[in-house]
Symmetry: C2
Subunit: 267 residues, 2 copies
């Protein structure tokens, strides 16, 4: 049992709360049972160490057993040690150091089906929004999520937590410039739909057949003109009441689910 | 200009961050330009006092002018005073003390159109979720939002902020017990659709014609059996990928928008 919250190992794990350390080591910390369970279930090859308190080990026996069955190193730690490792206030007794899981752009787009659904996040800055969109993209059955450069780091603990495990569920690329992302999609015959409050096409009039990607902009200022111009259509979610707007995560989820439903009813 | 952050007036405003004080006084504090703008625009009759810093008064002249045109009392305050009044860390220089705006259940349901869309929140505890659902209901054109007893207080500053002004946009009832809410809707011919991950009807198969209400449950445990039994159908949003679930705000927004689209295409 690891009991010294000031040990070098604990400090090394805690340092993963810094983006610079994550970049250098290629590792990040998945905090809480949902994240650890999905990491172990979907990408055990990327899990380096699981840390669990005695209490959490009892409560989450299935996770611990799955980790052991996958041959992973599971370390017993005191609650103090876990708290010292984690960024979140209540990590619920379990965390895992994982290798980053993003892949190069061409690899994320390697196996797109004919009716591919892709989600592109450009300049998204709020961790909760980014994580919730990734979760929504997963739930809507998206085939890939592409996060552009100048966006929040997807390995930030708040993003990881907001994805509720979806981070490990679908091909993810991070850091490519927006023009490169759009060109790569276009090359593969994926139509580009910009989601923007300034769009002239209403969501229910948009052509959602075949392969397409939703291009989402920044929370506050939306998509710049040159990105909208580079897309095949600029689509807006209708606002029926008096609300000024929808937030990014809500708009993205509605767009992705509308696409999923269009694909489903076409099949 | 009010400059003393320890004055009785400032203390009285600050005390509105406590639910007990809000209940007793029937007042709450709307913090930030979006909330104040919508309160002044939609329900000036319920705004008691507007407090604004010199800097914010310059940045939000339209809000200040609208408040003055409505005959409201606009007080210049120092940044210290505004910070001492507010619950949020960065209130952006403007806040308003408002009368609560909920109405009795029968009043919230008084003017329902034949294709009414209603949102019922039962046992919702997270302020951000509650506020985001109210915003989503507004955007989807819902005709009323009914928040049951044992739910988060909608006048909590986090809820108010998350609604981004939608709090003032549509009839709202709070505090009625769930059975009473469901009976009142049924009496008015509004069909009851429980939104729940345990539902057997998929959203795209649900009957969304005519007047109906979406009944949303608690973030963690969903809807209790007796509430599901009291509804006409229990509907689940399909999960196409590997995501375990959608969060409450996302699920509610998808359901409400799907209803709005069904009503739109029927018209």
């Amino acid at each position: 049992m690891l009991t010294n919250p000031r040990s070098d190992r604990v400090k090394a794990v805690r340092a993963l709360s810094r983006r610079s350390v994550r970049s250098r080591t290629g590792e990040f910390l998945a905090e809480g049972p949902q994240a650890v369970r999905e990491a172990v279930a979907f990408r055990p090859d990327l899990v380096r160490d699981v840390y669990v308190t005695p209490e959490a080990a009892q409560r989450h026996t299935a996770i611990v057993e799955a980790a052991q069955a996958a041959g992973l190193r599971v370390h017993d730690v005191s609650p103090d040690v876990l708290a010292a490792m984690c960024d979140t206030e209540s990590p619920q007794g379990i965390a895992a150091v994982c290798r980053v899981l993003d892949v190069p752009l061409h690899e994320a787009l390697a196996d797109l089906p004919p009716d591919a659904l892709v989600c592109v996040l450009t300049n998204v800055r709020d961790p909760g929004n980014a994580g919730t969109v990734i979760r929504g993209a997963d739930a809507a059955g998206a085939d890939a999520v592409l996060v552009s450069d100048a966006s929040v780091d997807v390995y930030n603990s708040k993003v990881v937590r907001s994805t509720v495990g979806s981070l490990w569920h679908l091909p993810l690329s991070v850091g490519a410039p927006v023009p490169e992302i759009l060109a790569a999609l276009r090359e593969r015959g994926v139509r580009l739909l910009a989601a923007d409050g300034a769009g002239t096409t209403l969501l229910h009039d948009a052509d959602l057949s075949g392969a397409h990607a939703w291009v989402m902009g920044n929370e506050a200022w939306g998509l710049p003109q040159e990105v909208r111009d580079a897309c095949d259509d600029v689509v807006r979610v209708p606002i029926h009441g008096h609300a000024e707007s929808l937030n990014l995560a809500m708009a993205a989820t509605i767009c992705l689910y509308t696409s999923a439903e269009a694909h489903r009813s076409a099949r």
